[in-house]
């Protein structure tokens, strides 16, 4: 009796061991959970049935994907043949030489470089150094921030379209005073990525720069402090507690119709047309970001696909990569809800009929800016976000917050330079 029990256990153990993949023509692909990864998963299944190449999918939550990929790349497991990566991670991966250079693989296929149909700002992200260096990835999902506002409320109170941040402030004040239960603006200022993502477009429009020409941090410039002061003014028209909001709370307020304006990402657009998710169907308008001293610029946030240097199947991976980013396949990804990175698709009549915000998205993407390109962006964003959040919760004055943030960013740079 106990022997049989023991034997069954042993059997179970060995049975689960044989789950290991056998060798053969196959690729392993690391994707992010969510609509971006879902589209690539679907594409992989189509590719499988067309070519017979078996594709294993490894799917991870956004918050874990970066560490997961970093561990695997550092340990040189060669576990992945293709990885999806968010563009701010790219400088880290590229500078540590974790990725395969794609140009030789392209040349072997008779192409001199990436297809010119890709949006220039998207391809620039895939080069290291930015814009000028060798190519290590191809852009797959073309997100960039948009300005969301309630068209119906703007018409009702005869407000003009929010072209500048001053217009936004005026509109926020008007709407909050005249409407019952609607906040003029909703922003997210939780520590970390949230606060920084909502602040950067204001910071850039006010003329702020994170690093000066010599590469020293300069967030506490007069322009930077003015931008943060403006953010706090706008915060007066944001729901209470916004200093701890993340994307989810912002989305909920907009969908429930309790806030009138916001900076947000294209992933939310489709929810506004769905009555099970939105109380304001057909009332939301999407435009490029407002200007101030300088024209408005959105943060770009593209999903790229790269081939790790330790992949044993770089050639097969490249075939899949080119196939998945071709106009035909990317159109299918777009139909599944992902903004493309090809100009032709943003202008595609069928897609524009389905996604009326595409023209605005293309304008936003073409004029967008990347987050500062540094391998240490994650640490810097984290530190910067803490001080922005503290300023928004009233713990620090704008000047103090920016001075302390500047000192902290300088420390991070010194520490990382010392270890290099």
């Amino acid at each position: 009796m106990r022997l049989t029990l023991f034997l069954t256990l042993l059997l179970l153990l060995t049975a689960s061991c044989t789950n290991q993949q056998s060798s053969g023509k196959q690729l392993t692909l690391a994707v992010v959970s969510g609509v971006e990864g879902d589209a690539l998963k679907q594409a992989a299944r189509d590719y499988e049935s067309q070519t017979g190449t078996h594709i294993n999918i490894a799917e991870f939550p956004y918050t874990n994907l970066f560490e997961k990929e970093l561990i695997d790349l550092k340990a040189r497991t060669g576990a992945y043949d293709l990885i999806m990566l968010d563009d701010p991670w790219f400088p880290r991966f590229a500078s540590e030489q974790f990725l395969t250079e794609l140009t030789p693989l392209l040349e072997r296929r008779g192409q001199s470089g990436p297809d010119s149909d890709f949006v220039a700002t998207s391809v620039a992200l895939c080069r290291h150094p930015y814009q000028t260096g060798p190519l290590y990835a191809l852009p797959y999902v073309g997100n960039s921030q948009l300005f969301f506002y309630r068209k119906d409320l703007f018409e009702k109170h005869s407000l003009k379209e929010p072209a500048t941040w001053q217009d936004v402030l005026t509109a926020a004040r008007t709407i909050q005073e005249k409407e019952n239960g609607i906040y003029g603006y909703v922003m997210r200022a939780a520590q970390g990525n949230a606060a920084v993502a909502d602040f950067m477009p204001i910071f850039w429009a006010f003329g702020g720069e994170m690093f000066d020409a010599s590469g020293k941090p300069s967030v506490n410039s007069p322009e930077g402090i003015a931008a943060l002061e403006f953010m706090l003014q706008l915060g007066k028209y944001s729901p209470p507690g916004y200093a701890s909001f993340n994307a989810d709370e912002v989305g909920a307020h907009l969908l429930q119709g309790t806030a009138a304006m916001s900076i947000n990402w294209p992933a939310w657009i489709s929810s506004f047309a769905d009555a099970t998710k939105s109380k304001v169907t057909g009332k939301m308008e999407f435009s490029t970001l407002p200007a101030a001293q300088r024209p408005g610029q959105a943060e770009i946030g593209n999903w790229l696909i790269a081939i790790p240097r330790d992949s044993q199947n770089a050639d097969a991976a490249m075939d899949f990569l080119l196939w998945a980013t071709s106009a035909e396949q990317m159109k299918r990804s777009a139909e599944r809800g992902n903004p493309p990175t090809r100009q032709s698709l943003f202008r595609d009549a069928e897609l524009v009929a389905k996604y009326p915000a595409y023209p605005a998205q293309l304008r936003s993407l073409e004029s967008s800016r990347p987050r500062p390109r540094t391998p240490y962006w994650n640490e810097i964003e984290n530190a910067f976000g803490i001080f922005l959040s503290k300023a928004n919760s009233g713990e620090l004055s704008p000047t103090e917050a920016m001075n302390q943030a500047n000192a902290e960013i300088e420390k991070i740079l010194q520490r990382t330079q010392a270890t290099q």
């Binding site: 106990r2 029990l5 023991f6 256990l9 179970l12 153990l13 689960s16 061991c17 789950n19 290991q20 392993t28 690391a30 992010v32 959970s33 969510g34 609509v35 971006e36 294993n56 999918i57 490894a58 799917e59 991870f60 939550p61 956004y62 918050t63 874990n64 997961k68 561990i71 340990a75 497991t77 576990a79 968010d86 994307a247 989810d248 989305g251 909920a252 969908l255 429930q256 309790t258 990402w265 992933a267 939310w268 929810s271 009555a275 099970t276 998710k277 939105s278 109380k279």
Partner: protein, 273 residues
């Protein structure tokens, strides 16, 4: 009167314990508009099964459920077999150099460092023996992490048991192992049940190692799958709640089935102190 008062006191405790479960169940049945409505519709809303469909038909949560079950049950069984044997040895045999106490403490000490410390070494070891992304890797790790608990719990139960019973069996010609299986184990069954439930819950809920050691749907467990619904821009509360609501069922059923033993097992341990 006293009895009624007892219920009055129990009621707030019950509400306190069950409110999160109620909230999770209702979220899993609400459309997004209702999930975020303020004030929330507590009792009256139009239920939808869409989130359950998304979780178990569109996505592979059914497969995660099977993986979780295989891993949790197998590792619990392994930990019980090995741990009970070890505990019996420590409780009944006098080892030289005060090893009984020293070994026990050594076993316990493996629980004293934070689990995250072992994550990367385990990852590298599993990579070298080519067990990454398999159920086996999780079974091995969970067994190892449950062992100290099993050894210490069962040690307490064995120490409580008078030796005379086994000795009677030995005198009657049974082997040591026979006496353990036929005489001792039935007597500590409540303890075994309590220990099993604990191991099962720990393995069922474990997140860190499941995340680090698995890479694809083939070996992914429920907690990792559920966490995967926190996407970059949105948190899919509906799907997460639907999957979590289903995930509590097996543990609930198992715990209810063993309830009779559980109360006895836990109080046995408590008296021992």
């Amino acid at each position: 009167m006293i009895k009624n008062l007892r219920y009055v006191l129990l009621l707030p405790a019950l509400v306190f314990a069950l409110a999160p479960v109620y909230w999770m169940l209702t979220i899993s049945l609400k459309t997004e508009v209702d999930q975020f409505a303020s004030p929330p519709p507590w009792f009256v809303f139009t239920p939808t099964l869409q989130h359950y469909y998304d979780a178990f038909v569109t996505r592979a949560f059914g497969q995660y459920l099977i993986t979780s079950a295989v891993v949790a049950v197998t590792s619990t069984a392994c930990a019980l077999v090995i741990g009970t044997a070890a505990a019996y040895g420590l409780a009944r045999f006098q080892l030289p150099w005060r090893l009984n106490r020293r070994l026990s403490l050594w076993i316990l000490s493996t629980r004293m460092f934070p689990a995250i410390v072992t994550a990367v070494p385990l990852f590298l070891m599993m990579r070298d023996v080519r067990l990454l992304n398999t159920r086996a890797s999780l079974i091995i790790v969970y067994t190892a992490f449950n062992l100290p608990f099993v050894v210490w719990m069962m040690h307490g139960f064995f120490a409580d048991l008078p030796r005379d019973l086994e000795e009677a069996a030995l005198v009657d010609g049974d082997s040591r192992l026979g006496a353990l299986v036929r005489v001792v184990l039935p007597l500590v069954a409540p303890g075994l049940a309590a220990t099993a439930v604990f191991c099962l819950i720990v393995s069922w809920n474990e997140f860190l190692f499941a995340l680090v050691l698995t890479q694809t749907d083939a070996a992914m467990t429920l907690p990792v799958g559920i966490a995967g619904r926190v996407t970059q821009y949105e948190i899919k509360w509906g799907v997460m709640s639907a999957a979590a609501s289903v995930a509590i069922v097996p543990i609930l059923v198992f715990a209810l089935a063993l309830q009779k033993y559980l109360v006895r097992g836990l109080s046995l341990g408590a008296v021992k102190g």
